[in-house]
Subunit: 453 residues, 2 copies
Amino acid sequence: MTATKYLLEESQMPRSWYNIQADLPVPLPAVLHPGTMKAIGPDDLAPLFPMDLIAQEVSTSREIEIPEPVRDIYRLWRPAPLYRAHRLEKALGTPAKIFYKYEGVSPAGSHKPNTAVAQAFYNAQAGVKRLTTETGAGQWGTSLAFAGSLFGLEVLIFQVRVSYDQKPYRRAVMETYGARCLPSPSNETVYGRSVLAEKPEHPGSLGIAISEAVELAAQRDDTKYALGSVLNHVLMHQTIIGLEAMQQMEMADAWPDVVVGCTGGGSNFAGIAFPFIGQALRGGQRSRIVAVEPAACPSLTRGRYSYDFGDTGRMTPLVKMHTLGSSFTPPPFHAGGLRYHGMAPLVSHLKELGQIEASAYTQSECFEAGVLFSRTEGIVPAPEANHAVKGAIEEAMRCKREGKSETILFNLCGHGHFDMAAYQRYFAGDLKDERYDESELAMALAGLPTVPA
Amino acid sequence: MTATKYLLEESQMPRSWYNIQADLPVPLPAVLHPGTMKAIGPDDLAPLFPMDLIAQEVSTSREIEIPEPVRDIYRLWRPAPLYRAHRLEKALGTPAKIFYKYEGVSPAGSHKPNTAVAQAFYNAQAGVKRLTTETGAGQWGTSLAFAGSLFGLEVLIFQVRVSYDQKPYRRAVMETYGARCLPSPSNETVYGRSVLAEKPEHPGSLGIAISEAVELAAQRDDTKYALGSVLNHVLMHQTIIGLEAMQQMEMADAWPDVVVGCTGGGSNFAGIAFPFIGQALRGGQRSRIVAVEPAACPSLTRGRYSYDFGDTGRMTPLVKMHTLGSSFTPPPFHAGGLRYHGMAPLVSHLKELGQIEASAYTQSECFEAGVLFSRTEGIVPAPEANHAVKGAIEEAMRCKREGKSETILFNLCGHGHFDMAAYQRYFAGDLKDERYDESELAMALAGLPTVPA
């Protein structure tokens, strides 16, 4: 028997996002101004984000209504399917039941449009004409370009130069949606020019690209900045994943003992996990929640819970999070969406509160899991999603050892159609499991900013 | 307003394919043996195909039941959505209503798995252990690799060498599904070795790859051959597209005045169109049916309706079809799925019977249409599908000129995520609308085989 698919009616698509800040037993630590090191207020963020999104960032309302124009676009691919992975279970010989939510059905091929569409809507409503953002491999840039095209917004994307050069196909998708894509560091910003002046052949980094995007957004009234992960409102927009999955698990007459997601900045993980955590926080049924991260960039398992900057250039506000230090450069591996030195403050906070477990796997372990998944379930996962597949398989094998028929739910956050170069290297045996440099990590952690108590 | 989506329940997924041979006013011309030039019977095809598929090839039953194991796998992505393209209509300022059926939701990203799964099933049921096939760009090879992995069949794919070298990512998808992919001409077949002996650096062609796949299949009892288009049974497996679309048009309380599909070998076109043509043949409502082909490989608009070989090596049986001549080499353009010298016999026959109109467009016209579609509807089409988009837009613009609010339905047969290199060249202005050589076409047509009356 193949996978069983659980589909919701359009009328069952959630009408609100879930805001976990309403249910936190301890509120999030304050966000600090990078200059004064004092707590910032909504006005400090106004040059970068429209007021509706800033309000969502600090809201403690449990439910925030999804505007109808956003639901209208969600309906292009939502509600997204949830499957029971019968063939994977059989291949593993596990008594566990494995379910997965599939977000690769969006036009961009991943979960990212869930927040891109919402952010584009609120910006368009606020009269913004142009959005700037950064992208590495291009998943986020693609999604914002898609969303911008539907709301008539100009989208300017700073893509890390090494990716810009190596992945022209991703750029072609962004351009097809009408966005402008620039290699970062670029000559369009003061910061970009300063980097290029020092090193004309600089390969770029996500940190530099963020600084460029932020600089341009801050300069012009008609321009704002959009971020694809990390921030509270971004994670909240993704909770539609878990809210749908809850209804679908009920359809399947099952409930997850374990919920698994992969973590980079934290948004797809939060999307599947937060509704389940919230239920437990409100005294309801508790599932184990497992975050899976790459061994080469292990912020949750090896990072420090500390105030840090979001970018390498130390221009963003400081947030308390699990971080490897903003000067830490992860070794090059193929799950580009997971190559971030920090972790979403909400995910970090919940880890500290004991609501989340974390584990880390090498990329070759994850590709091995992804190939098994492809051959049994028929969908080729993105390299990021392979981490969630690996995490779910590990839980299923534990169940086999322990003779337990637990129910496992994981989020398959995107398909791998844009990432076949990575699979190709895996099959060719060219994929190295590069470790980060321990002394570099120690140095990056030692360089964390000191924040007055 | 964004696109309206029309979704069927799983219980509404068709239980049978539609076989248009039941409704033909004149039966198909016979298939001829390449040696004797006499009509072949089922036994002649037995070395290549399992008997169930041969029976389907010649059946005149109107409905052929879809086996439950095939439906089980179809359910991974079917029923596929149908959308009304409100935003495209608005951008065109047309009074026409435009609907599109979207087949890019399959794990392979196109309509091809509809027949790959069926063919893999019947082969597995007949005890076949291994399937051979050819592929150009890789859409078909990907789909058969996917289907083979689900039925435990070994899949051996001969990929045209130039594509094998230029598109390693496509090969990586096939390998991820566990298939073996060889560059053709190869050293694994007598025919391949003979080609290489003459020209070691031969770039390959679909015709050579077909000959290699057929040679291997004919040699071994446990091995059969699978074809992704052209044959009657292949087209029939695709009719699930049109059968679903009919139900969805009823949901939308609309009925197409025009049905548009792109044509290479003819399978996705047949899939959307045959159920509508059948209805008209049985005396029901008649829609105009428009086949859209590339101007650089215009078999329906410029080819001759004549007996011809399916391959360049002249080893396959002869079928009567619209053909540019089996020695005709289409110029290199990016809709690889449409680069075939011939046309499905059923599509050709229906064209001769006046049931189908045909038109041809250049690839840059089609990319322009695809970019407009991407920016309005949010889905980036495959270069092949851009031809259908272009055809639908032309009909919509005619409606605008004539002040008619007709209903247009087209088949969006796949997404373009694997084809962004082509879009990249389009944006860079590097895409030439290469014409075929008129004298080469004349020569290829002059070389058509003579068949005794």
